[in-house]
């Protein structure tokens, strides 16, 4: 394969490259024990502390967790757009990327994104064309003084070698594909002239305009109302099926996860609690946290006038993380002397279902970085 014929230097960049050789279901993205910390005056915040998961081509991975659990930071770490005060401390992010992003059938190479410089040309080529971001707030994602068309065309011309007019055509097509009416006129509108739903569609159009293989959707439905939310989710699902794009879906809404995801990763305080196929997670949750999350979804079916179950306590202060398993102060299955000392190892419940909890494993993980 051409991968081997590449620059020897780049080869050194791929650790474990041979794992993927010849495997039919080689993952598109492989995050391996990623740790990203914020270095601030008041102390170190371990926002992402040992996160691992895979994204298979054409599948949707849902990352779910409370606010502050590190989902967005993980996403930023993958794209290497972390704030200046944050750094990837260790871990790897493997991406199977096309060498020429516009050539669908072209050669691929495997890159470790953590080894590239954040502002490097290769990384900038990947951003937008291989991995695209659908950011959280659609209003804020567009610049208020440029038209939406201007920004989409800018992205297109950054990654594709086309003229201005052709780029405009592509942009109009993208608008049409996401279901925006009157795309030729809407291209010249400002973001604040569009309604919430239209803006969200425009963002999706911008993300898809360069045909990325992986989409990262950061809470795409939080800022819009429920009806629009249903439309947008439908749109994403259709687009995903059409183009076989992989999606990483970040949200705190379990209902959305159930609709969209093929696999689920449950995060808490920067660590993965449980991950697996969506049906397994929802039908057979093993981690107390997952169980609590599921139980706290209000349902029309439940009996009226009962207390809505909640998870007691609140997320620990970022500078004051509990020792051992991060969830133990709020866990109803807490075992003193075990859960507050060490971090649990991951245990396979099945081939596609993994949980990290002392209820299932008597062994502990290797000592954590802070010992």
């Amino acid at each position: 394969m051409d991968v081997k014929a590449k620059n020897v230097l780049e080869q050194r960049v791929y650790a474990n490259a041979d794992i993927f050789e010849g495997r039919m279901n080689a993952p598109l993205l492989k995050v391996e024990d990623l740790r990203a910390y914020f270095f601030m005056d008041e102390g170190i915040v371990r926002a992402v502390d040992g996160v691992s998961f895979d994204v298979q081509p054409g599948k949707v991975v849902g990352i779910v967790g409370e606010s502050g659990c590190g989902k967005s930071v993980t996403m930023k770490a993958i794209l290497r757009i972390l704030e200046p005060s944050a750094r990837i401390v260790s871990g790897k992010v493997f991406l199977r990327t096309r060498i020429n992003s516009q050539n669908q059938q072209g050669d691929e190479e495997l890159l470790d994104l953590t080894k590239l410089k954040p502002n490097s040309k290769r990384l900038r080529q990947i951003r937008g064309a291989e991995i695209a971001l659908i950011p959280q707030e659609p209003m804020a994602a567009f610049s208020p003084v440029h038209t939406v068309g201007n920004q989409i065309i800018e992205t297109i011309r950054l990654h594709q070698d086309v003229s201005k007019d052709k780029a405009r055509q592509i942009a109009v097509e993208a608008f049409r594909a996401v279901g925006i009416s009157m795309p030729e006129q809407r291209i010249d509108a400002y973001s604040w002239e569009l309604s919430g739903g239209l803006r969200q569609r425009a963002i999706i159009a911008m993300a898809l305009s360069c045909n990325p293989r992986l989409l990262i959707a950061d809470e795409p439905t939080t800022a819009i109302d429920v009806t629009t939310q249903a439309q947008i989710l439908n749109l994403l699902r259709n687009l995903q099926k059409e183009r076989q794009t992989s999606i990483i879906f970040i949200t705190h809404d379990l209902g959305v996860i159930a609709q969209m995801a093929d696999e689920v990763v449950v995060m808490y305080l920067g660590m993965v609690m449980e991950k697996g196929e969506v049906n397994a997670i929802f039908k057979n949750p093993q981690h107390p946290y997952t169980q609590a999350l599921l139980k706290s979804i209000p349902s029309i079916q439940s009996a009226s006038r009962i207390k809505l179950p909640t998870i007691k306590g609140s997320i620990a202060h970022p500078f004051n993380r509990p020792k051992g398993c991060p969830f133990h102060p709020r866990c109803n299955r807490f075992m003193r002397g075990i859960c507050d000392i060490d971090i649990p190892n991951f245990v396979n419940i099945s081939e596609t279902h993994v949980v990290g909890c002392f209820l299932h494993s008597k062994k502990t993980l290797l000592p954590t970085a802070d010992k």
């Binding site: 209902g255 159930a258 609709q259 929802f282 039908k283 057979n284 949750p285 169980q291 609590a292 599921l294 139980k295 979804i297 349902s299 029309i300 079916q301 439940s302 207390k307 179950p309 909640t310 998870i311 007691k312 306590g313 609140s314 509990p322 020792k323 133990h328 102060p329 709020r330 866990c331 109803n332 299955r333 807490f334 003193r336 507050d340």
Partner: protein
């Protein structure tokens, strides 16, 4: 659709319910157990302290972190003391002229050990007339020291007009030497610069503060009326503000001060200049106050105050104004240096305070002439004080503004 499935499956699970209050497993860390009322915050001592601190305490804590601002405030306090008791700092008579003593250079304070004691002294100067230029040339004569006494006795004066005393910060051991002490030299008329500087500080700073206080009062009243009552009053005041703000500042000020009759006494001129300088300053504050009043009017807590029967005045003074007092203080502190510089510029040009009044600007008038300046560069020292006071006010004001409103201006 999917929701139903979840509910069914989780119900069938053999999981202990969270609502099971019997299962109170206390976490290992020493915190308050969460109550039955639910998931309230697990507080710790530090958070408690913060939550019960009053607003001013919080502002003070934030201000304290800004070292530059704290140093500036200390310097300001020192200047305030100078303003209050200038006589203490002065060494001689600021008005006494002696043409023969013109352009004496500053005398440097020296320390030396004599007879086992540390003594401070200043070399005296002897003058000789240069036969060619006919100017007085001063020579430093170290054989004739003038001994300095800190907190010594000098000319009598009254502290704040009340307490009679004659203690000065710097004075000479021998009282006959007093008139020979010129720590910052003399000017063209032989006047002691150090003493003049002290009194000039008082005048310049007072004008700055008085002017800003008048601006604040005007701004609060007019801005308040404008914002609270709205309607015609608001319109009129707004047009007035727009008009005043479009006037070109310095030319109009010049014209105003030129219109003051020559016959007025220095005190009257001082008073008039203070008011003139305040006439433009109130507009900015009025605009902001109006804006705040307009938005505060809609706030629920104001409606609540009115509903429980607070009078209009009480609502305004007890409920509305305190929400932005810290902002007023911060912006006023930043406005003072502008006034000081303006007064200095006006007096420098000859159209502000006039002699015999002493201000930094009046003193700097002596430095207008380049030739004179070349002879006596120490005449620029009042300008240095202007720069220092402006910087200090700016730093303190910035610090206050950041402490009061850290998220925006």
């Amino acid at each position: 659709m999917s929701n139903n499935e979840f509910k069914k499956t989780t119900d069938n699970e053999q999981i202990k319910s969270f609502d099971d209050e019997q299962e109170k497993v206390l976490p290992a860390s020493a915190v308050e157990p969460s109550t039955e009322a639910g998931d309230l915050f697990i507080a710790n001592e530090a958070e408690d302290r913060v939550s019960v601190a009053s607003n001013w305490t919080l502002v003070w804590w934030r201000f304290r972190k800004n070292k530059l601002a704290v140093v500036s405030v200390v310097i300001l306090l020192f200047l305030a003391v100078v303003v209050l008791v200038p006589d203490f700092f002065a060494t001689g008579d600021p008005e006494k002229t002696e043409a023969q003593l013109a352009f004496i250079p500053p005398q440097h304070i020296r320390f030396s050990f004599q007879q086992g004691r540390l003594r401070t002294w200043v070399p005296s100067v002897t003058g000789a007339r240069d036969p060619v230029t006919l100017r007085m040339v001063w020579q430093i004569d170290e054989t004739q020291p003038i001994y300095i006494d800190f907190f010594g006795r000098g000319r009598p004066y009254r502290i704040l007009g009340l307490i009679e005393t004659n203690i000065h910060l710097i004075s000479t051991v021998n009282s006959e030497d007093l008139y020979k002490l010129h720590l910052l030299g003399t000017d063209r008329l032989g006047r002691d610069q150090w003493s003049r500087l002290v009194y000039a500080t008082r005048v310049s700073m007072t004008i700055g503060m008085a002017s800003v206080i008048i601006s604040i009062i005007l701004g609060l009243i007019l801005g308040g009326i404008s914002g609270y009552y709205g309607g015609l009053a608001d319109n009129v005041i707004q047009r007035l503000i727009e008009l005043l703000q479009s006037l070109p500042v310095i030319p109009i000020w010049l014209a105003l001060t030129a219109a003051l009759p020559r016959t007025w006494s220095p005190e009257q001129v001082f008073f008039a200049i203070t008011i003139i300088l305040a006439l433009r300053g109130w507009t900015t504050l009025a605009r902001e106050v109006r804006g705040r009043f307009l938005s505060l009017r809609e706030e629920d807590f104001i409606m609540a105050a009115e509903l429980i029967g607070c009078s209009r005045a009480r609502t305004i003074f007890v409920h509305m104004i305190p929400t932005f007092t810290s902002h007023i203080i911060a912006t006023s502190t930043l406005a003072i240096p502008i006034i000081i510089v303006t007064e200095t510029s006006l007096s420098f040009l000859g159209l502000g305070l006039r002699p015999p009044a002493i201000s930094w600007g009046v003193m700097l008038q002596e430095a207008q002439n380049i030739q004179a300046l070349a002879l006596a560069p120490w005449l620029l020292i009042p300008g240095v004080l202007v720069i220092i006071s402006v910087m200090v006010f700016n730093l303190a004001g910035d610090g206050m503004r950041d402490a009061a409103d850290p998220y925006g201006h």
